[in-house]
Each structure stands twice: as structure tokens, then as C-alpha cells.
Symmetry: C2
Subunit: 283 residues, 2 copies
């Protein structure tokens, strides 16, 4: 396992908000991630850990700077880890040309297509390499892992929990891309990373994965602002996922938020509710 | 009075976080400012208003995105206005060459020196033009105004309250530049904006203004992290201001925060305490 390099550390709410870099074997590049260590992390015990997956164009920094989650994570004794959203600087022609494909838009899949398949393995990075790094370096109770995310990262949180049976005990999303095989962002990303066989795409689509789920009991907490422009543009499709959950008797909560949009202002408003939801299920 | 143009509006904690632009007469350029309107703003009454002044390199956006103040402003019924930190795009040669002088570094003074004096009038902008705009456009109780800020903006909050006798009823700072005539940032800025007559500088220095204050009763709430690199580099000098307050029997509170640095992570940790402090004095 490669060593972590400490990039920065800032005191916040009695805990430490850190950024680390490391050489990723899955992605073949240097990656950064952030970790919030609550005050309880220095008291000798093992703590629950939450993984936050960010959306298009984001890095490991957005949640940390804008969501305001540290206050509640400090109170509840939760470690929060935020990876970046794609490999970086891997010199694939065109990797920086689009805001919704390539850099900043890894979509938490393992690509199968050239020229992406060598580096664009965000699914394996998050669910294996990063998990192992976190468990090896921080006081984490490996039985108590949750995952959540926003937009593309909400899709990521759903896929990581629905494909890895039992790996995460709690999962929640803000404005998730809930049925990517049926929205423009998802079709563009899956075409590029996974190729044109649409049957293969179903292995990376939350709405399809719910239909086929046969793992241990799990619930998904879906959060959505009703003034979200991308909801209106049919990029998110939460009702498709909710309908699939209903049909499959898969437990879900869908909270619609009156007047809220797609921004971190929306996330900041409801982050406390999500962190308490996770803490209740992990403790 | 010029009209306000709405740039953006996002729902957060039941209120509205907005950005407006307008043509500033004081500054001779288009300026942006942000305003948080709590839910109580739509209930017909007049609310207390706080002005937040940001630090070097910042804009009207930093506090809004990173401080997490909206939750408490929504609870307490406070309007919060954040101006930008300097004129923008006024085409002065070299205006963008330094991070600590010119654009993003207006220092909340009215410049007297060429080529700055025509545009760099942030003191008059904040205490006259912006105040008037806010009172004319939002449900503000003009008897209940407070001011606070960070670093260069802490200096600004102190100067605006100490020079404008009775204009602001509450004032607090995070990591303020408390004695600019004796620190490198202040000497650079005041030399450029105010010229080489150091006697004139004293009219813009909180530590000197406290010595001469003869307005209505006022208290300053000074907050400072003890792991702040700029404290260590003698840019902030809070003890000089505290000593001047002691000598002049000027009421002050100085809170030192163990392990906290100069960042918005520090501000986010203590913003609740500051907002409750202001609300108590304004209500």
C-alpha cells in the first residue's frame, strides 16, 4: 500500500479537516482525498466512516468547504472521506475538453473502452483502494461504513452500495443521477466509458440494480430539491428509481424539498438530517 | 440611486441567498454584493442587518459559500450583506499585480493617492452607498445595524464602526488586521492608497481610533485563532488593539481559539457564537 502524504490540515469544530495525496494503483496517477477526523478520533476508539462522492466538475474540496457537515460529524463522531471525482493528469487526449466527461466526471464506473479503461476506474478506486487506505490509516470501524453523494456522486453512492452487497450499511443521496441509462449525462458517459452495449450499462444504473438486488437488507434515502434545473431537464429521474424500489419492495425514502435547487446551498440545508440518518444506522 | 440587478438566488435554510450587481457611483464601476434574506424577511417586518467584510483576495462569495452562517441567520432573523473587497476592472495599471494590493485588497479606506483615489473608495462605498442601497431595497431596520469581518475585513469592520460614531451598534472580527500601521500588509496598502504621511494613516487604524474614540458606548468582540500563520508573522497584532482598549477603558472581548488558523474552517466553527452575539445586541 502506498504512503499517504499530508497536504493540509485545518482545525474545525474541534476536529481536523485534512487533505492527503497518494499514488493510486487503480487509477495510475496521483490522487487527493479529504478526510474529516472528529474530536473522538483521538480518543482511542474506532469510529464509523462515511464516504462522500461529489458531482460533475468537483474535487475532494467542494463538500469540505461548502456543505457544513463538520459540525454534525464532530458531534456524532463520524469520519467523512471525500475522494476526487476522476483520475487527474493522465494525458488522455481530450480528457479536459468536457465538463461532463473525462476529468472531473469519472462517473464512479470502471471503464472498459479505450482510451479510458487504463485509468478511469473510479468504482474500484473508491470501493477497494481508497477503502483499504482509509482503514489502514485512520481509526475506522470497518463494520460501520456508509456512503452518500450529490448528483453524479449520488449515482456513485447508489452504485457502490447496490453492487457491493453489504459493504455499506447506509446510503443517501442529494439530487442523484438515478437512472443514468435514460438521461443525457449518463448516456454520454456510459457510451464513452462502457461502449455501445446498452445491456452492459445496466450493471451501473441504480434503477436497474435495485430491480436485481439480492443482498442484505438496505434502505436508500433519496433527497431532491423540486426547483433543481437538472430535475426539470430529466437528468436526475428520481421517480424512476422510486418506482423501481416500489415494484421490488426495496425500502426507500424520497424527500422532495420545496424551492431548493441543485447547489451546495441546498446540500448545506439538509446535511444535518443526512448525517443523523447515517449515524443512527451505523451506531 | 441605481437599480439592482439580480444575478442569482438560491434557497438555503428556508431563506434566500442572493447576489446583486449595480453601478457604483463611489467606485465608478459595476459591483456585486450578496445578501441573505432569512425567512422572516417575507413576513412584513423590518429586520436587523449585518454587514460582513471579507479579507484579501476574497469577493462577495466567500462568506456565503464557506462560513455556514445562513443557518443561524435564518433562526435569528438576520439579514447579512457581503460586499466585494475592492473595485473591479477599473483599468488602473498594475491593479491585478499583487494579491495584497489593488484588486481584492481595497482595505476599506478612501484612497487619496493617484492612480487609486478615483476608484478605491471602499470606506465610503460600504458606509454610505451600499448602506443606502440596502435600506432602500430590503426590509431593514436602520436602527439595528451591525458589522463584522475577517482579516482585512476585520480591520474594515473596526474602522467602519470606530469612525462612524453610532452607525453600527455591534461589531465583531475574526483574525482582524488590528494595527495596520505596524504590519507589512498595512504599511504596503496605506503607503499606496494614502501616501507617505504616517500621521494620516492613524485615521484608518483601529488601534489608533480606539485611543481617540468619543462616540456612543460600543464594544468590540475580537476573535483570533492561536495557530494562525499571519498572527505569527505579526500581520494581525490583536494584542496591540487589546492593550489600547484596556488603556482607553474601551470595552472589548478577546477570544483566543486553541489550534485554529486563518481559514474559513475557523470562521465556520465560531460563526454561530458571533451571530448570536450580534443578534443579542441588535434585538
Amino acid at each position: 500500500m502506498t504512503a499517504l502524504k499530508l497536504v493540509s490540515s485545518n482545525r474545525i469544530f474541534g476536529g481536523d479537516q485534512r487533505v492527503y495525496s497518494h499514488e493510486s494503483k487503480e487509477l495510475g496517477c496521483e490522487m487527493k482525498f479529504s478526510v474529516f477526523l472528529p474530536p473522538q478520533a483521538s480518543e482511542g476508539g474506532k469510529l464509523p466512516v462515511l464516504f462522500w462522492l461529489s458531482g460533475l466538475t468537483c474535487t475532494e474540496a467542494n463538500f469540505v468547504q461548502k456543505a457544513g457537515g463538520q459540525k454534525y460529524a464532530a458531534e456524532l463522531g463520524l469520519i467523512i472521506v471525500c475522494p476526487d471525482t476522476s483520475p487527474r493528469n493522465v494525458n488522455i487526449p481530450g480528457e479536459d475538453d468536457s465538463w461532463d466527461f473525462g476529468s472531473g466526471a469519472g462517473f464512479y464506473v470502471d471503464a472498459t473502452q479505450e482510451p479510458w479503461k487504463k485509468h478511469y476506474r473510479m468504482f474500484s478506486y473508491v470501493t477497494k483502494e481508497l477503502l483499504d487506505l482509509v482503514e489502514a490509516n485512520f481509526p475506522v470501524n470497518s463494520e460501520k461504513k456508509g456512503i452518500f453523494g450529490h448528483s453524479m456522486g449520488g449515482h456513485g453512492a447508489l452504485v457502490c452500495s447496490l453492487k457491493n452487497l453489504g459493504l455499506f450499511r447506509s446510503v443517501s443521496t442529494f439530487a442523484a443521477i438515478s437512472n443514468p441509462i435514460n438521461c443525457p449525462w449518463g448516456v454520454k458517459a456510459f457510451s464513452g466509458y462502457l461502449g455501445e452495449n446498452r445491456e452492459e450499462w445496466k450493471n451501473w444504473d441504480a434503477t436497474e440494480l435495485v430491480k436485481a438486488y439480492n443482498g442484505p437488507p438496505l434502505e436508500v434515502f433519496l433527497d431532491q430539491g423540486d426547483a433543481d434545473q437538472f430535475l426539470k431537464e430529466n437528468q436526475l429521474l428520481p421517480n424512476n428509481l422510486a418506482e423501481a424500489c416500489r415494484a421490488a419492495n426495496f425500502p426507500f425514502i424520497l424527500r422532495m424539498r420545496d424551492g431548493y435547487d441543485h447547489s451546495y446551498f441546498y446540500i448545506a440545508t439538509f446535511i444535518e438530517e443526512h448525517l443523523r440518518y447515517h449515524a443512527e444506522r451505523l451506531q
